[in-house]
Amino acid sequence: MNRIDRAGMTRRELLARSVAAGGSLLVGASWVTGRSAAWALEVTALKPGTMATLVQMARDIYPHDRIPDDRYAVAVKGYDTADKAPAVEAGIAALDAAAQGQGHPSYLGARWEAERVAVLRGIEKGEFFRTIRAGLVTDLYNQKEIWPLFGYEGESFSHGGYIDRGFNDIAWL
């Protein structure tokens, strides 16, 4: 089942791609593409590598293995603006430096989630992490496209509520 509804995203932001090999995020001159290459995000103000790291950071903060990368990308794409980019570039540079301090080539170069989480734990009190996390908790979970992955049905008014559609349906209890 394809649960991803691309409505609301512009072509420029999200371009469908044909299948390519898995692995980590692929980075081009001005774009980031997912491991399944089912999506790509064009960046304008941030460096593509910065956006790729930011997407991985977002997944490591709120890891849901059933949520595809593009939903994390959508959640952080608001940082790709001229006014926000400098702080994000600085934040990601500091994140990479912290990763290097723990013996990794970069944040993305830390292969285990636990290794990256250890890096994040070191910066979680800082302004950059707190800003990213606070924005993400809204901008990730407020995407209707991911709600079906959690079983959440959203509004029911347009269907007449649940009075005839299982408001008390819990036969297993």
Partner: protein, 523 residues
């Protein structure tokens, strides 16, 4: 239809706020032939306007003006700029409330007498009691169509209730039912029955839940005696040299300063805004703010002992389906100090949608422990703790003159420290809530901290003694006879029950008193 009144007409009663207190009072006075101008800071939204989407609805309805909270309670850390979750709209927080309509228990009217002195708490007896309030409660229940009163059947139980019921009965609790709810279980008051849609907090799109927005307000307007001025933000109340209030200065929808003359002013702006308005109305005659000779304006801010227990089960619950709060377990509402605290608490069903669950489950948390809980969302059941918190003089609303709002008015600061009694009660309630869910088969429980407060009470407390209270038994300020408080801020103590029914009962009673005193020439 609504009579437009002249701004210089000093025969009108001016009510500030149109929620449970102000909206009810406005209609009750209008029905008695009294001219009323109601100033409402928010706009007018009706069921067709409500949005069943949590963040979009929050943006539409929530009171988001600048506020700050501090103190040792966790909310001050998690949501420092959002101490409360209340509504800025015609109808006030009756748009958002869940509908639970419980009378105070008899002993709760006399908390000081029945609990005794509690160190650090400013417990006080209400000057009212259950017998005096009984007829007003009956009128309120009839007005609101409360289930399990006046022959109204209870609501049917949704999945979340059935989990609560099974678990509660399994651990030996007896008083478990779908609540006394101001949500129609059958067609009533020209409004249809609940369709089990969920999203009770976002405004009922069926109009099945009582809200002054589409009951009291239009009924009052139909009389020709009520004019509601929406998007009008009260700035200060003015008085004459005899110390009687004469009018209200406000900013209209265009941000232009206006003044409405008044014979009587009733403040019903909710428990943060009401004391703020009195404090911001300070003058040379009343340098500490209006009605504040006792120094009690803003003090004894209460918000109930709250918290939630969400639990994950092996199979789907889908708690978001159906009426959000139609489920209650009342056995722990009694006063029984053998539990290690005074007062009691109710456990009520509650659910949040996925976006709010993520925001409120454990604010600030991240990583696999958090996301694995969210992954269990479909299999979650939830309940909310609502218990009596201790009034404390130092828990208070003050104004910060250094931080002003969009009108240049000093903004409110809400200070709150949990009392040890509050902490003991919350711990007990978490333990019992978890036991209930476990007994129904829960595999993992999540004791969730308090949300921004929807129950805000007590900052203009009622007392017969003008030295320790702001208002008398009628909600009339001790200092200024033609100034009343008509919302939950007049609560002396908080009791364990959701406050709206009591606010409405007090407003009906206050309207009766004001009309009688006006008729007698005393006001």
């Amino acid at each position: 239809m609504a009579a437009p009144f002249s701004k210089t007409d000093d025969s009108v009663v001016v009510i500030i706020g149109t929620g449970a207190g102000g909206g009810t009072l406005a209609n009750e006075l209008a029905q008695k032939g009294i001219s009323v101008v109601a100033l409402e800071a928010g706009g007018r939204y009706l069921p067709e306007d409500y949005v069943n989407d949590e963040w979009a609805s929050f943006a539409q309805l929530a009171w988001l003006d600048t506020r700050r909270s501090d103190g040792s309670f966790r909310l001050a850390r998690d949501f420092a700029g959002l101490p409360s979750w209340i509504v800025k709209a015609v109808g006030g927080t009756t748009t958002h409330w869940a509908g639970a309509s419980l009378r105070f228990q008899d002993h709760e009217w006399k908390a000081l007498t029945n609990y005794g002195r509690v160190e650090g708490a400013s417990l006080l007896d209400w000057p009212l009691d259950a017998a005096e309030m009984d007829p007003w409660y009956t009128l309120a229940e009839a007005k609101m169509g409360v289930t399990r009163t006046n022959g109204q059947p209870g609501l049917p139980g949704n999945t979340n209730f059935l989990v609560l019921e099974k678990g509660a009965k399994a651990v030996g609790y007896k008083e478990v039912h779908t609540g006394r709810m101001a949500i129609n279980s059958i067609e009533y008051g020209g409004r249809q029955a609940c369709q089990q849609t969920g999203f009770c907090f976002q405004g009922c799109k069926w109009g099945a839940k009582w809200s002054t927005a589409y009951t009291e307000i239009p009924l009052g307007e139909e009389t020709g005696n009520l004019e509601v001025r929406e998007r009008c933000h009260a700035a200060r109340i003015e008085h004459d040299d005899k110390g009687r209030v004469t009018g209200v200065v406000y900013f209209d929808a265009s941000g232009v300063e206006q003044r409405q003359a008044a014979r009587i002013v009733c403040v019903a702006g909710n428990t943060i805004e009401s004391p703020r308005l009195l404090l911001n109305s300070a003058s040379s005659m009343f340098p500490d703010g209006l009605a504040n000779s006792s120094g009690q304006v803003g003090r004894n801010y209460m918000r109930h002992v709250t918290g939630s227990v969400y639990s994950i089960f092996e199979r789907p619950v889908r708690m978001w389906r159906g009426t959000t709060m139609a489920g209650i377990m009342q056995d722990e509402a009694r006063h029984d100090p053998s539990r290690g605290f005074v007062g009691g608490y109710e456990l009520e069903t509650l659910s949040l949608g996925l976006p709010f669950m993520a925001a409120f489950l454990d604010p600030g948390a991240w990583g696999r422990e958090f996301t694995s809980a969210i992954d269990g969302y479909e299999n979650m059941a939830g309940m909310w703790i609502v218990g009596e918190d201790m009034p404390q003089e130092t828990n208070r609303v003050t104004v910060d003159t250094a931080v002003v709002d969009q009108f240049g008015l000093p903004t409110p600061v809400v200070h709150y420290d949990d009392h040890p009694n509050d902490v003991a009660m919350r711990d007990h309630a978490y333990e019992r809530g978890i036991a209930i869910h476990r007994a129904a088969g829960a595999v993992r429980s999540l004791p969730t901290p308090p949300y921004p407060s929807t129950h805000n009470i007590g900052t203009n407390r009622m007392s017969d003694n003008p030295r320790d209270g702001v208002v008398n038994r009628w909600g009339q300020t001790h200092d200024i006879p033609n100034l009343f408080v008509s919302d939950g801020s007049q609560f002396t103590t908080g009791a364990a029950e959701n406050p709206t029914l009591t606010i409405v009962a007090l407003a009906i009673r206050q309207a009766d008193h004001i009309a009688r005193e006006m008729g007698a020439g005393n006001l």
